[in-house]
């Protein structure tokens, strides 16, 4: 197996372990966030945010906080350094909040706002990235670069996972209340605006982390699919979060192994696994539903 070979070979393992570790942290983030993202129907906003990240990448490049391509491939890793992370996260957050703000004023314009911000950010990113002449490949941003994740980035992803889970834990009651019953939440002292702001912020910074693995195009898939899978399989709160974590973990691990074995890009591999899990979950649900109507239940 190439996977075992890559991860145990003393020469190759430093190339691969940080990516694998970052992937595991990502599974934790996705497990917590995705349930709320699915229930609150924020996946399209998430899609907008992740595409906005490409604009952030361009901005980071033109500001000179992006690594440049040199003879040694490793230094060319497009995602490293805290400054770059901050620029991209800031860009994503601004885009997310802009959409949130527009949607808050007029829900019918949300859809258009996301569409516009999505393409505008891609365009700006494309222009800036070209202008910055970093020599970075587009594809690495679009589909992820698991093999070039520097150890510092893996550490940062874990710190991020800790922060996201801490915030979710601290706001769990108000977040759940809001997710279940937005209209009634002000009467119970829960501000819908604050909750949406918190969730969009978490989504924005998590998207930047997800980009390392899956790239701009597929980042949201990781932040949506685990929750969507879990919600197909259970209606129990703790079971849903456990299933969400299990499927995120399975998606990331199997995806990474597939990408090693078959030489696929890691992002598409992870998304293919998660999508297959989703289809299986749908089938399980359909079969259960049929048993429910014909059987004893």
């Amino acid at each position: 197996m190439k996977s075992i070979e890559y991860l145990s070979d003393p020469l190759l393992s430093p190339l691969f372990w940080p990516g694998v570790l970052a992937g595991l942290a990502m599974a934790l983030i996705a497990a917590g966030l995705s349930v709320f993202v699915v229930v609150k129907r924020l996946s399209f906003i998430g899609q907008g945010i992740s595409h906005a990240a490409f604009g952030g990448v361009g901005l980071a490049a033109i500001l000179g906080v992006t690594a440049r391509v040199t003879q040694a491939g490793l230094e060319a890793a497009p995602f490293h350094g805290i400054p770059q992370f901050l620029v991209i996260a800031g860009f994503c957050l601004a885009a997310g909040l802009l959409v949130g703000l527009i949607a808050d004023k007029d829900a019918t314009r949300e859809d258009a706002a996301i569409g516009i911000i999505l393409v505008a950010s891609m365009a700006v990113g494309g222009i800036l990235l070209r202008k910055a002449k970093t020599g970075l490949e587009w594809e690495s941003f679009l589909f992820g670069t698991l093999y070039q994740v520097p150890p510092a980035d893996a550490v940062m992803t874990w710190v991020l996972a800790g922060a996201v889970l801490l915030v979710l834990w601290a706001t769990r009651r108000s977040m759940t209340f809001w997710a279940f019953d937005e209209t009634a939440s002000p009467a119970f002292g829960v501000s819908p605006r604050a909750m949406k702001l918190i969730l969009l912020t978490l989504l924005s910074i998590s998207t930047v982390a997800a980009m390392k693995l899956a790239g701009v195009v597929l980042a949201t898939a990781i932040l949506v699919l685990p929750g969507a899978i879990a919600l197909q399989l259970s209606t129990r709160l703790y079971a849903v979060f456990a299933l969400s974590f299990a499927s995120a973990l399975l998606g990331v691990l199997v995806g990474i192994v597939l990408s090693f074995e078959l030489d696929w890009s890691p992002g598409p591999a992870i998304v293919v696994v998660l999508t297959s899990l989703f289809v299986m979950a749908k089938v399980v649900r359909a079969v259960r539903g049929r048993q429910g109507t014909h059987g004893t239940a």
Partner: protein, 282 residues
């Protein structure tokens, strides 16, 4: 005994372009007193200012002119002290969210807890009692998405009761509930008031929701038109409150109106005949 709510000459206008250009306010000069232990129904057409009045009572909108006192406090203070329980329209809840009925009620009890505080024993007891009072115990462990409209409503009532409020506000409680459920709802209101010595305010555009469960009815269409016992709701009064709406709703209402008022005066029929199918009366 102090009043539960007193509205003193309350007006409210939303800051929209239309209002600035002189369109009518959402509420105008509403004065009304709700006594403790009373079940008051506020009946009015859609867009008649019912939701605005509810939001003002919860302290979610600032008072513009006039004043509102809830148990002698500002509405926001009363809400912060958890004296007000609120039951929203059930149609707004996100039923795909993985929560059991009991978990929903627990959220009502513990939503203001600090993150590190678990639900206290007392709060758990409150949740249990709220489920018992609302008659929701038998299906409390079921997923909210698998409940009937009436069952979910009981869960939402239990959620409001779980923080031991002194005032219960219900927004359009009969929307999406079948006639049998509506009858049970009226009985439930009676039980709650007896068991908890609560003050109840029901807001609805549906006469049946209000006539069955309330001691007194106020008719609200921008301003208060009448407040009376449910029997006093003659077609004339209703026609005044609902004006243009009346043709649209009378198809449902006329049976109840017949029952409710035996002292119907034919001269007060503003272009509608309760016995006939409605349409075109506007």
């Amino acid at each position: 005994m102090p009043d539960a709510i007193s509205y003193d000459n309350v007006s409210f206008a939303y800051a929209t372009r239309a209002t600035r250009a002189g369109a009518p306010k959402a509420l105008e000069r509403v004065s009304l007193t709700v006594r403790e232990g009373e079940r008051l129904g506020i009946l009015g057409p859609n867009g008649g200012g019912k939701s605005t009045l509810l939001k003002l009572t919860l302290g979610l909108l600032p008072e513009q002119t006039g004043s509102i006192q809830v148990f002698g406090m500002s509405p926001a203070t009363a809400r912060a002290k958890r004296l007000i329980g609120y039951v929203p329209q059930r149609v707004d809840a996100e039923l795909s969210f993985p929560l059991s009925g009991r978990q929903v009620v627990q959220l009502g009890a513990g939503v203001a807890n600090k993150p590190w505080q678990r639900l206290s024993l007392e709060q758990r007891e409150d949740v249990h009692q709220a489920l018992v009072t609302a008659g929701a115990q038998s299906f409390a462990e079921r997923h909210v998405g698998a409940m009937s409209g009436g069952q979910l409503q009981r869960i939402l009532i239990a959620r409001a009761l779980a923080c031991r409020p002194k005032l219960l506000l219900l927004d359009e409680p009969t929307v999406g509930i079948d006639p049998a459920g509506q009858q049970q709802f009226a009985e439930l209101l009676r039980t709650i008031v007896q068991e908890r010595s609560l003050t109840v305010v029901v807001v609805s555009h549906d006469l049946r929701a209000i006539a069955a469960g309330c001691d007194r009815v106020a008719c609200l269409s921008r301003t208060l038109h009448a407040h009376t016992a449910p029997e006093g709701l003659t077609p004339a009064v209703l026609a005044e409150v609902f004006k243009h709406d009346v043709a649209a709703i009378f198809g449902e209402l006329h049976v109840d109106a017949h029952k409710a008022s035996s002292c119907e005066d034919p001269s007060h029929h503003h272009g509608h005949h309760p016995g006939k199918p409605t349409g075109g009366a506007t």
